[in-house]
């Protein structure tokens, strides 16, 4: 079975901190995605990547950056965390441009 692992289930950070959310997949998928999920807003795409060192902005990239140095790892970076970035963050990898496999999510609280 495909496994997508997010480094933390819960994270508490302070305003202004630099935050790294790590995501690793074990199925050699080329496509990887970062979403955030907020009540009433559904899933919103932050960034995605279709290859190593490649990245594309999604619908809400402001305040975020990403890194994909290796195929299996896609990192989301909050350069200077703010309270409005408190959210559930979901990483996913994609099989053959179709089915997505999600990690368990990271609930980030920025105080």
């Amino acid at each position: 079975d495909v496994k997508v692992t997010q480094s933390s289930r819960y994270l508490v950070k302070r305003t202004g901190e630099k935050v790294f959310l790590e995501c690793v997949q074990d199925m050699d998928h080329e496509n990887m995605f970062w979403y955030r999920q907020d009540p009433g807003l559904g899933l919103r795409l932050i960034y995605f990547s279709y290859d190593v060192k490649m990245k594309e902005k999604g619908d809400i990239p402001e305040g975020y950056s990403v890194s994909r140095e290796k195929k299996e790892r896609f990192s989301l970076i909050l350069e200077s965390a703010s309270t409005n970035q408190t959210s559930m963050y979901l990483c996913a990898s994609q099989e053959s441009n179709e089915k997505l496999f999600f990690g368990s999510g990271t609930q980030l609280s920025v105080l």
Partner: protein, 111 residues
């Protein structure tokens, strides 16, 4: 940008009843997928239906697609308490365009 819109937003039924959720979308699609999310966890892929298919089954799940009406429905038959979750539709437009998710339907199955 939200393409799929699920209806209803919330649904509460008794165990053993059938649950039907609908998804409407705006543009032409390549495929439509349904995902399930247990509270506080990542999404799990349930079923994919392609634009040239009208109906698909998987266990107690039945999905229909009407491209002329730009709508899909997910039917869960003989529901169980364990089916309690949020259900999301996601539309795939073309090979290298990310899936777009709706806001989900919260299903509660009461034992």
């Amino acid at each position: 940008s939200q393409q799929g819109e699920e209806d209803p937003q919330a649904l509460s039924i008794q165990e053993g009843e059938n649950a039907t959720m609908n998804c409407s979308y705006k543009t032409s699609i390549n495929n439509l997928q349904w995902y399930r999310q247990n509270s506080g966890r990542g999404l799990v892929h349930l079923i994919l239906i392609r634009s040239n298919e009208r109906e698909k089954h998987s266990g107690r799940l039945r999905v229909t697609l009407d491209t002329s009406k730009k709508s899909s429905s997910l039917l869960i038959t003989a529901s169980r308490a364990a089916d309690t979750a949020s259900y999301f539709c996601a539309t795939g437009v073309s090979g290298n365009t990310p899936l777009v998710f709706g806001k989900g339907t919260r299903l509660s199955v009461i034992a």
